[in-house]
Amino acid sequence: MSGVEVKPGRRVVGSDLARHDAIEKVAGRTVYAADFALPGMLHARLKRSDYAHAKLTRVDTTAAEALDGVVAVYTAADVPRNTVWVDVPGQTLEVGALKARSNVLADGVVRYHGEPIALVAAESDDAALAALDAIEVDYEPLPVVDDAERALDPEAPQIHESGNLLAHWELEEGDAEAGIASAAAVVEDEYRTQFIDHAYLEPEAGVSWRDTDGVITIRAATQVVEHFRDVARILDLPDNKVRLITPYVGGGFGGKEDMTVEPYLGIVVALTGRPARMVWSRQESLQARQNRHAVRMRYRTGADADGRLVAMDVDILSDGGAYALLSALVLLYSTTCAAGPYRCPNVRIRARTVYTNHTPCSAMRGFGGMQVALGYEGQMDRLAAELGVDPLELRRRNFVERGDTLPIGQPLETTVELPALIEAVTERLEPPPEPSAPRRAVGRGFACNLQPYGRCVWLNDWSSAWIGFELDGTLVIRIAVPDIGGGQASSLIQIASEVLGVAPERITIHIGDSALNPLTGTTTATRQLYMSGNAVLKAARDLREQLAGVAAELLEVEPEQVEFGAEGVSVAGGERSLEFRELLAACASVDVSWHVHATYRAPKGVPWQADESWRGRVFPDFTYGCHAADVEVDLDSGQTRVLRYVAGHDVGQTINPQSVEGQIEGGVAMGLGYALSERLVFDEAQNLTGSFAQYLIPTAVEVPEIDTVVLESGEGMGPFNARGIGEPPIGPPAPAVAAAIRDAIGARLTELPFTPERVAAAVRAREEDADAEG
């Protein structure tokens, strides 16, 4: 436990403080990436591949370059260093299997539909669009691999020279076969999940310019300002000659974790010297940006007669698409979480991810830890049915506890409140409603999960923040955190206000700038509240200590007796006080500064080795959840309506309850889309889901009222013992809905999404069976 004790009776931590950014956003004043413009800026667009796998026999840009208003058309040969390296910037050299590369612009071969081939810069967007049409590309189609199983066939076309196996993790703890053989009950099933898109409302966008100091500056929607280094590498410039600014981002969910527009904006400004804007259309965002991995999972799970798990054999095969990006890391999350929040002495996990000609897959909320929930929770439900045990009771008998170790060797050091969550969620449920009409059936399902927060421990993660007073007593926080909508910035204001007393409205936070603000790492991996929150907490406490010393002398008390309030410091309930302005002047006179820079370092660990015998800690800690879904299935149409949903998580301590609920409700909605309607559809690796009319994220009609249960165990590794909550809620919805559908119709669905067509087919098969038996 690295949590820090705090006094009871907090000021603003734990309260529903209105977010400062919400006021700007609701008034339409927030300047998002695509809202920014510079005089004389060029408009940049990408020519993308029409083929999923082809040799480029000719890319002729002459006609395009000759068009009015077209300034330049670049191809691979024009890019200083045409390689995007995906690794873990600057924090470790131990990245081995996690290192991946792809091309900035296709070099001779395209490997997925929509891969960028050429980059156009023009005086107007219309001219840029016309240039795209005028670029002549001759393709020599190559055979396509559009199935993960097929990719492993030695006869299959090889997408990269290294072969189609992108990464694999294997481990065995105990003896899985022996365990299965000894089990009183064994259930076995295959589960399939689909490719999905992040579908944030803000398409990828940015503006770039060369600043007066010669620094290439890119203002873009990204979750990772540290990509300035990746752009520098591509432009063959020193790292300190590229600056990345991220304004408030219109949603990320992992889709803006890998670079999107950044390298192209860098290239245009570097090669033309002129400012440039690039905005992706929704259609290219859907068609060509990285997706969530589709996964095929086979589970064999055995339990003894008491319903205690004795063995688990898991085979995971994920489709990584055409380039590696973060696939190996995503697969590591699947491997770590494959057994779920359950104790099991004998576990074998084999996890592989392969190249295909699908759009590359990479980070998305839940990051490999969420797909497996469909598998491990599906197995628990099967096992419960097999043993005649209540599904929640079966889970209770098997939950991990503090002190346990996950099969990969991950120790669990904080409390696991899953039994309490089950109880709290169950209490919120009402008796299932009667079906609303004939030929409707109602069902209820539960699912539990675990999801790590924070990055892998061997990545030596750190966050830093600067906090300082202005002379008028207002406070400034400087931290390069990208705020992607989760309240990343406003939570930090709340933490600083808690410690220093300054009212939140008197605090300004400068975020998302790699050059002017202390780096704090990526807004990914449910790490930002945990990491940046700890950095700001540390900075605020350091600053408080600094000022308290000076105040104590002036007020003639011990430093611990100095109280920090909205306007200044005081003692003994305000009997004697100093305004911040007075205190700061006093600090100046004794050479005590009124600003600090602090760094928080995450726990470290031994790097994973490509060795089946490796065991150890992968993540700092986990967040646990239990969800319940009531659904009504239309037995004729197969339409599934979620009637009611309860989602519970232990968040350790809430910083802003509304933001916590927002994360849970948003995660559930996204999870319900995953469960019921969302999928990217490919035909021979051609992405057919090129519009928002085809890619069906849930509307307000499909999402029910979501009842959130926020449990505060007081244990977590974030500030004030908070746990991360960004990703965890995405895991349980699909298995909870699967269980609820099973409860309603008596048939088990194992392939996502549970479309009306699939549900109707399952109902029909069930009814035909019943007729045959009757």
């Binding site: 919400a22 956003k25 609701v26 695509a34 803000e202 398409p203 849970i664 928002f692």
Partner: protein, 180 residues
């Protein structure tokens, strides 16, 4: 071509080619970026504005079709610096996360209440079905629209009655009710 229209109460004159949409004209010619380009195909609702008092997807209206019309965007709703009541409810409810869908939600929420299409939670949800949000799960937005409706219903100029355009061919609906 020249398109003349009224934008948030001010006369506007934009030189744009006819193939530009209203959204593109607002953002790239008039310099008003408060309507967002989320999909460009009339599905996500982030570009919603009032056109002659009626909510439209500005990505699905061509610039020349706006000649002589009145356009109101979310940025024109505040009065003397105060947020419109629905805007205030959205902030208070926590219905704003990334904020990209928010301008469209505000427009749709106002119209739903004005048309009496926000009577129940289910009605609000149907009225917002063309406004996609990926962050919030909608609940806090639906609650904000409900609170705004309740506030309007108790106001002097309560607007929560069913209005229609009257007989086809009649003049468009009256100027949009943008709060007291």
């Amino acid at each position: 071509m020249t398109v003349r229209f009224t934008l948030n109460g001010e006369p506007q004159r934009c030189e744009v080619p006819p193939h530009w949409t209203l959204l593109r004209m607002l953002r790239d010619a008039a310099g008003h970026t408060d309507a967002k380009h989320g999909c460009g195909e009339g599905v996500c609702g982030a570009c919603a504005v009032f056109l002659d008092g009626i909510a439209v997807n500005s990505c699905s209206v061509l610039a020349p079709q706006v000649e002589g019309a009145t356009v109101e965007t979310v940025g024109g709703l505040d009065r003397d610096g105060d947020l419109h009541p629905l805007q205030a409810e959205l902030v208070a409810s926590g219905g704003v996360q990334c904020g990209f869908c928010t301008p469209g939600m505000v427009i749709s929420g106002i119209e739903a209440v004005r048309l009496g299409a926000a009577g129940s939670e289910a009605e609000i949800r149907h009225s917002l079905a063309g406004n996609l949000c990926r962050c919030t799960g909608y609940g806090k937005i639906v609650a904000a629209v409900g609170a705004y409706r309740d506030g309007e219903a108790t106001g002097v100029d309560g607007d929560g009655v069913r209005t229609t355009d009257g007989a086809p061919g009649a003049a468009p609906a009256p100027e949009v009710g943008i709060g007291p």
